[in-house]
Amino acid sequence: MTGRRGEGATPVTSPRLRHLRGPSAHARPRRQERRGPRAGAVQRRLSTRNGLLFVSPWIIGFLAFFAYPFVATVYYSFTNFNGVSAPHLVGFANYSAMLHDPLVRTALFNTFYYTVIELPLSTAIALGLALLLNLDVKGRAVYRTIFYIPSVVPLVASSMIFVWIFNPTAGIVNDLLHGLHIPGPNWFFSISWSKPSFVLLGLWGLGQPMVIFLAALQGVPRELYEAANLDGASAFRRLRAVTIPLISPVILFNVIQQLVLCISYFTQAQVIESSDIGGPGNSTWFFVQYLYEQAFSFLKMGYASALGFVLFLLTGIVTVVLFRSSRRWVFYSGGPGD
C-alpha cells in the first residue's frame, strides 16, 4: 500500500493516473490552467457545495435525530404529557416536583456514588495494566487480548454472570471466601454491598480505556525515557514527569468517556435488578433507570423529559469542569495540530 501512495505523490500529470479520469475529462480544460482570482472563488464555492453534499446525510440525521429531539426534550419538560394526547404547559412544575421527589435524590446519590468510586478506580487500574503491558514482556499481545475479552461480552450476559458468581449461597466467590474463613456478604442483595458489587462488574470490563492507554504509551518517544534514565530518575519519577504529562490528553479522553457511561448507568442495573428494580432498599436505583421507569412504566413523559434535561445538564457541567481543569494538567506537545 505504501508503494501505491508513493506513486500518488508523483507529479499530477503522471500517465499512470490517466485511467482515473472522469467521463467528461477530455472536453473540459484543465482547471489549473485557468487560475485567477475569479477561478479561486469559483473553486472555493464549488468545494463548499461538494463538502456540504457529502456531509448532508449527517446534517439531516443531526437535525432529525438530535437537534429536534433535543429542543423537544426541553419543551416537553415544561409540560404534562403522556406521550399520546397533546402536551400542555405546566411551567416549572416538573422541576419543582423533582426537588420534592425523594427517589430522585436517592437515584442522584446512587449514580454519584457509583461514579465517584468507579471512575478513579477504573482509570487507575486501566492505566496500571497498560503500563504493565507496555513493559518489555513476552506474550504481551496475548495478555492484551485476554484482558480485553470481558469488554466484548454482551452486557446482559456479563451482568447475569456476575449475579451468579456473586450469588450469596451457591456463588463461587462466597464459596472461595468461605474457604478463607471470611463470611461472604450478600453482594447485589445487600444494601451496603450492592453498589460495590456494581463497581466490581464495571472494573471487569475496563478493556477499552486500557487499550487506549496502551496505544498512548506506545507513542511516548523512547529517547525521553533514556534521557530521564541518564539523569538518574527513578521509575516513579519517570512516570510522574514523563509518562503522565505525555499521555494526559488520553487520560482526559478516557475520563470523559467513562464519565458519560457512569452518569448514564443503566443496562447492568436493569438486568441485575430484573425482579426488583431499585435493588435492596433502593440502594441501586440509578438516575437513568428512574427516568426510564417514569417514561415507560408510568407514561410521565413530561417529567421524564425534565429528568432527561437534568441528565444532559449534569453531563455537560461535569464535562465543562473537566475541560477547564484540563488546562492545568493536560499537556499538548504537538501544538494546534489537525
Binding site: 472555493r44 463538502g51 456531509v55 443531526f62 485476554i146 458468581i165 488520553v250 453531563t315
Partner: protein, 295 residues
C-alpha cells in the same frame, strides 16, 4: 498498533547477578499478568462450567467445580424453550442493516470532513463529535414519541434508519482519521484529470480504505449484537427480540435454573468472543485510533 519490538540486550553478556535479577523481575511481571488474566477469564469459564451442570449440582454447597456428568442437554433444552434461533436471526438482521447504513453514510460524511476543504468544515466536525457527549436518554423521549407517531415503534426502523444518516459518529470519526492519511495529491491528480468528487470517493478513497471499513463493520456488528437499550425501548414483540432481550427473557423465566441461564448466556457470548479472537488485531487497533486520534 503494531507492537513496538524493544531491542533487548543480549542476555549472555550480562553478569550472572544481573541476569538473575532480570529473571526475578520477569517472573514477577508474569505473575501479575497471569493473575489479572485469571480474573478476566474466570467468570467466562465459570459461566461455561455452570452451563454443563445439573440444576441440583449448580446449587450445591459447597460448590462443585467440575460438572459431573456433563449435561450437554442443557443447551438444546434452553435454546428450544425460547425461540433462540429466531433471536439469533433477528440479531444478525439488525446487525446487517445497520452495517450497510453505517458503511454508506459514515464513509460519505467522513469524506466530506476530510478529503474536501471548505469553510465551516471543522466547526461542523466539532459539532458532530460533541454530540457524543449528550447521553442517549437525554433525547430519548421526543424520539420515541416521534417514532410512535410515524408508526415505527415495534420493529427495527428506529434503530436502523438513523444509521443511514451518519448516526454512528464513532465510525465517521474513525474513517475520517483514516482518510486524512491518504495523501491529498492522490485526489488532486484525479481532479486535474477532471474526475469529480464522487468518482474520487468511489474509485480512489474507498478502495484504499478497506482496512478502515473492515474495522467499522466489526465494531458495528459487535455494537448491534450487544445492544440492549435500543431494542428494549423499541422492540416489544417477542418474536422480533434480538439476543440481548432474549437472554433477558431467559433470566426472567428460568431464574432459578442457573445452568439453563448460563447455557443461554454462553450461546449468546461465544460467537462474539470467537469473532473477537479472530479479528483482535483489527479491533484493538480501531479502539486505539478512537482514543488517540492517531492512525
Amino acid at each position: 498498533m503494531t507492537d513496538v519490538l524493544v531491542p533487548t540486550r543480549r542476555r549472555s553478556s550480562l553478569p550472572p547477578g544481573r541476569a538473575r535479577h532480570r529473571l526475578v523481575r520477569s517472573l514477577a511481571k508474569h505473575a501479575v499478568l497471569v493473575a489479572v488474566s485469571v480474573v478476566a477469564g474466570f467468570p467466562l469459564v465459570w459461566m461455561f462450567l455452570t452451563s454443563l451442570k445439573s440444576s441440583h449440582q449448580a446449587l450445591a454447597v459447597p460448590v462443585v467445580w467440575w460438572p459431573h456428568p456433563f449435561v450437554w442437554a442443557n443447551y438444546p433444552q434452553v435454546l428450544t424453550a425460547v425461540p433462540f434461533y429466531r433471536f439469533f436471526l433477528n440479531t444478525v438482521m439488525y446487525a446487517a442493516i445497520t452495517i450497510i447504513g453505517v458503511c454508506l453514510s459514515s464513509s460519505l460524511v467522513a469524506y466530506g470532513f476530510s478529503r474536501i476543504s471548505w469553510r465551516g468544515r471543522n466547526l461542523l466536525f466539532y459539532v458532530m463529535v460533541s454530540t457524543l457527549l449528550v447521553p442517549f436518554f437525554a433525547t430519548l423521549i421526543p424520539l420515541f414519541v416521534m417514532y410512535k407517531r410515524f408508526h415505527m415503534v415495534g420493529w427495527y426502523l428506529p434503530l436502523t434508519v438513523p444509521t443511514f444518516f451518519g448516526s454512528s459518529v464513532f465510525s465517521t470519526f474513525l474513517l475520517r482519521q483514516f482518510f486524512m492519511t491518504i495523501p491529498a495529491s492522490m485526489s488532486d491528480a484525479a481532479r486535474v484529470d477532471g474526475a469529480n468528487e464522487l468518482y474520487i470517493y468511489r474509485r480512489i478513497v474507498l478502495p484504499m480504505a478497506k482496512p478502515a471499513m473492515a474495522t467499522v463493520v466489526l465494531f458495528q456488528f459487535i455494537y448491534s449484537w450487544n445492544d440492549y437499550i435500543g431494542p428494549l425501548v423499541y422492540i416489544n414483540d417477542t418474536s422480533w427480540y434480538p439476543l440481548s432481550l432474549g437472554l433477558y427473557q431467559v433470566l426472567g423465566t428460568y431464574q432459578t435454573s442457573w445452568p439453563w441461564v448460563m447455557a443461554a448466556a454462553s450461546a449468546a457470548t461465544a460467537p462474539i468472543v470467537i469473532l473477537f479472537f479472530l479479528t483482535q488485531r483489527v479491533f484493538l487497533h480501531g479502539i486505539a485510533i478512537q482514543g488517540t486520534g492517531e492512525k
